[in-house]
């Protein structure tokens, strides 16, 4: 496949940007005002997953490098936030910034090393990022400044802050970050940047020979993806109130993110958001069936079946329905919720 050479005209792009901003603003106002605490909490978890899935897709989906390390970036963000709030008097915004920078920095360093060797793609890249999760877990649990094994009680340090004023405030931050992730995702679907990434996915050697600086694209995009994952860790740290290594770096985070993206499909930039919605709702519904082990099995089987039946995910199926014979990306209608 040749890299796609087209760039969409600017008017629809602006319309979509406006769409994302409007939807996010409406959500940030309406959900906290109209929803019960439970609705807001659920919505917060929902936007966290949307942000994670979208940010994962920015690099892994577009460039075809499946990362199992997204939980690490999220976790680094959570711990960076906790550390800033615990050890300094800086506010939440600073903590969030540090969270993004720290996670992005980790991704940058890893990317510089891993992408230097053409061997580390596909499954090997996945496994290296999996190993990254173990390394970071060990480091955090042994460095007293971050955690040292005793956990960090974040709630104690957010009591006087605006963001510590309840789930509604946390939700507003979450929505803003999900919107940011959506904007970046949109950018990767509409600009040269995205075209370059997809050319890497489709035929990396060809892309390189055509003059696409694949190494630079991969390293920087991986860092952006990691930074977004870290940013969303900031409100999560406040939401949890108490962070502990075992729970923060659990492998189910990258797993769910990947499942969401596969389910939603990465053919469209908004695919992962649809996948996140489906998985979050499915999980919440399965909570009520009364057999927890069974629901774990159902989720696993669900993933396997989705891969088998919908290799392009829901958004891919959507494309096939709408425009048989053409796989170009067109006509997304803002943020789908």
């Amino acid at each position: 496949m040749r890299p796609r050479a087209w760039i969409e005209p600017d008017a629809p792009l602006l319309r979509r940007v406006a769409g994302i901003v409007v939807v996010a603003a409406l959500a940030a106002v309406l959900v906290p005002v109209l929803g019960s605490n439970y609705i807001v909490t659920f919505s917060f978890q929902f936007v966290v997953w949307v942000a994670l899935a979208l940010s994962w897709n920015v690099f892994s989906g577009n460039a075809g490098y499946p990362s199992f390390g997204h939980g690490v970036f999220f976790g680094v963000g959570i711990y960076a936030t906790a550390a800033v709030l615990e050890h300094t008097d800086a506010g939440f915004l600073v903590a969030m910034l540090v969270a993004g920078l720290a996670a992005g920095g980790v991704a940058l360093v890893v990317g510089l090393g891993v992408f230097a060797s053409p061997r580390f793609k596909g499954d090997l890249f996945g496994l290296v990022t999996l190993a990254l999760a173990f390394v970071v877990t060990t480091v955090v649990s042994n460095v007293a400044f971050l955690d040292g094994g005793t956990g960090v009680f974040v709630r104690e340090h957010t009591r006087g802050l605006w963001v510590g004023g309840g789930i509604r405030h946390v939700f507003v931050v979450g929505v803003a970050l999900a919107a940011l992730a959506a904007l970046v995702a949109l950018a990767t679907s509409r600009t040269r940047w995205g075209t370059a990434l997809r050319s890497i996915r489709d035929e990396e050697a060809v892309a390189e020979s055509l003059g696409v600086p694949t190494y630079r694209y991969k390293v920087l995009t991986f860092a952006v993806s990691g930074a977004l994952g870290g940013l969303i860790g900031a409100p999560q740290a406040v939401y949890l109130g108490y962070v502990e290594v075992g729970a923060v770096f659990a492998l189910n985070v990258p797993l769910f993110v990947i499942m969401m993206t596969i389910l939603g499909g990465s053919a469209r930039w908004w695919g992962p958001a649809i996948g996140a919605a489906a998985v979050v709702v499915l999980r919440e519904v399965l909570l009520g069936i009364g057999s927890p082990e069974l629901s774990q099995i159902v989720i696993g089987v669900f993933l396997v079946v989705v891969i088998a039946v919908l290799p392009q995910g829901i958004s891919g199926a959507f494309d096939r329905l709408r425009q048989p014979g053409r796989s170009g990306v067109r006509g997304a209608s803002g943020v789908s919720r």
Binding site: G113, A116, V135, N142, E293, Q296, V304
Partner: protein, 313 residues
Amino acid sequence: MDVSTTALAQTLLNGALLGCLYGCIALGLTIKWGHLGIADFFHISVVLLAAYITFTLVTEAGWHPFATLLVTAPACFVVGVASQWLFTRLDADDTTSLLLTFGLFIVAEGVASQLWSADLKSMRRDLPDGLREAIHLPAPLDRLAVTPPDLLSLVLAVVMVGLASWSLRFTRSGRAVQAMRQDQPIAEAFGVRAAPLALAVSGLAALSASVAGMAVAVKMPLQPQLPLHWIGVVVVACLLGGLGRPLGALVAAVVLMMLQNAWSLWFAPQWASAVTYGVLVLYLAAQPLSRVIRERLTHERPTRERPAVRSLA
């Protein structure tokens, strides 16, 4: 030998034997990964499931652990064939199959805790006599001890890895597998029937899981989360040993575990698991370096740079 030398020797010995167990687990994975192109996480779960079946047969039905292979080996073979059939059927690329096996990995953990509960299951009490007591080595090494389950891992690792390496190298089908890996269309043109061969390889690889599972059940108490503890070492061993090379994975696992144990003896044990990943990180860090070196070597080859290389040797 003074005390600390003994301790070091003992810890290295323990590490080497534990490495043998990981080598057994890694065997099927590295073969599937290297020769079928599938990084099969699920293989590690199959090892645990086989271990659980061994546990049940030994504790409920009073079987000898070795006899349980009569059940687990065919069962695992079928699982291996079936999973390969699924992958072929879905025509999955390496990314998709990785995700698929991860899905199965999750399902397996759920199945294990559903059937055997999340409690620790130990069959230490039901083992035949003499499978538990530590054996002291003959003089002059009489201060060192090994346990029969560890020796079992050693024997099984040597036998299985030996058999696998030998058949890959010297049998007709083994060479066909190698050929297939290098270039499937050409191999097929020369009469290699790729599909059935892949099924058989996958089945045999999974069969090794039954043996590894037996060794695991004999050595340690079981819990559904164990594969998560193994996955790091096993995967790193496969990578370092060279994909598709059973002996490489075994040696890598042995070396890794020896390093890790020696580290825990001298330094802070809480960093022990980082040793394995540290080795991996070093290996990765060496990649850009080796890339530069490789590029330089290929560029300068025409001018014959041999003396420099020789002087290093």
